[in-house]
Symmetry: C2
C-alpha cells in the first residue's frame, strides 16, 4: 500500500466492482468465540439515474444529483455459518461525497450491517487510500475499514461498538480475493 | 480512532505494555483455509541499556544510543493451533526512530515473524496513529498493521507477501484484549 494516494469514491468503487471470494472471521471478544464464514460477494455498478438510487436519496433527503458511483452488493454464504446467520443478502449503497472535500462523504444504504434497517454512514479516505466508514445505529455503531492489499485482494475490518462508542463488542476480518472466472 | 494523531513509537509502545488475550484468525488465500489461535501475549518494557538491547543494536550496526522504547514480547498459545504451530515464543524488539522524522524508523527484532531469524523492518505511523511495519525476509515479506480500537483493544492485520511484493500468500487478523487481571 502506497502512502499519499488521493483516493476518491469513484476510484474505490471502480476497484471494488466484480465477484469476490470472501473468508470472514468474526471474533466475539467477551467469549473468545470464533466464527468462520466463506461467501461469494458480487459488487455491481448502478446507474446514477436508477429508480432505486433516486428513491434511496429521496428517503434520506439527499439531492439525487449528488449520488456518485452507486453500487449494489449481494452475498451468498457457502459454508460454516451459524444457524441463525443470514446466508444470502443484498444491499444498495449510494455514496454522496462532500462537495468541499471529496475524500469524505456520506454513504446511504438500503440495509445496515449491524441492524437490518436503512442506514446512513460517514466515510473518509485516509492518506493511504483506506476507506473508513462509521455508521451509527440505534443500539450500536459500526466502524469498517476497507483497503486493497493488491488490486485483487480487498481486506476489511469491521468493529461493532457500543452505542456510546467507547467499547467494542465484536470485531471481524474479511479477506476478499477477486474471482477471475465469473 | 481519531484522525491527525501524531503518534510516536514511545507512546505506541507504552500503550502496548501489558498482558493481552489474543484471538488470531489466519486465512490461507489459495485454499480458503482458516486457522484459529488463542494466545496470551505479554509485552514488557526493556531498559535502553539492557545488554541484549545493546547486542541487538551492535549486530545490526546501529548505535545503541538511538534505541528507543525497546520491548520484549512473549506469547503462549492456548488452544486450536496447528500441530506444527510453535506454541510459545519470545522476541526482543528495538525501535530506532528516524532522526529527521520520528513518525518513521527501523524495528530490529531478535526473531522474525515470517522466518525464524533476526530481522530488520521499516515502520511508519499513519495520520490516524496506525503502526505499519514492512519487513523483508529472504523468501517473503511481511506487512503488519497494528492499531488501537480502544485503549484496551489492539487490532493487528498481518500479510505475508511474495518476495517481489506483488502477491499476498496469507493474511491474518488478531484482536488483542488487555487482560486486567494479571
Amino acid at each position: 500500500m502506497e502512502t499519499n494516494i488521493r483516493m476518491d469514491i469513484q476510484t474505490f468503487v471502480a476497484q471494488s466492482i466484480g465477484r469476490w471470494r470472501s473468508q470472514r472471521s468474526g471474533h466475539n471478544l467477551a467469549f473468545q468465540h470464533f466464527e468462520e464464514v466463506r461467501s461469494v460477494v458480487d459488487i455491481a455498478a448502478r446507474a446514477a439515474d436508477d429508480a432505486d438510487v433516486i428513491e434511496l436519496c429521496k428517503n434520506n433527503g439527499v439531492d439525487p444529483a449528488l449520488a456518485t458511483s452507486p453500487f449494489f452488493m449481494k452475498w451468498d454464504a457457502e459454508s460454516d455459518w451459524d444457524e441463525d446467520e443470514k446466508t444470502t443478502g443484498s444491499c444498495l449503497l449510494v455514496p454522496v461525497p462532500d462537495l468541499k472535500n471529496t475524500s469524505r462523504g456520506q454513504l446511504l444504504r438500503s440495509q445496515g450491517y449491524a441492524e437490518k434497517m436503512p442506514a446512513v454512514g460517514e466515510y473518509r479516505f485516509t492518506e493511504e487510500g483506506m476507506f473508513v466508514l462509521v455508521t451509527p445505529y440505534e443500539q450500536a455503531a459500526a466502524e469498517e475499514r476497507i483497503w486493497f492489499a493488491t488490486q485483487n485482494l480487498r481486506l476489511r475490518v469491521s468493529n461493532i461498538l457500543t452505542s456510546s462508542g467507547t467499547g467494542v463488542l465484536t470485531t471481524s476480518f474479511a479477506s476478499e480475493v477477486r474471482s477471475l472466472s465469473q
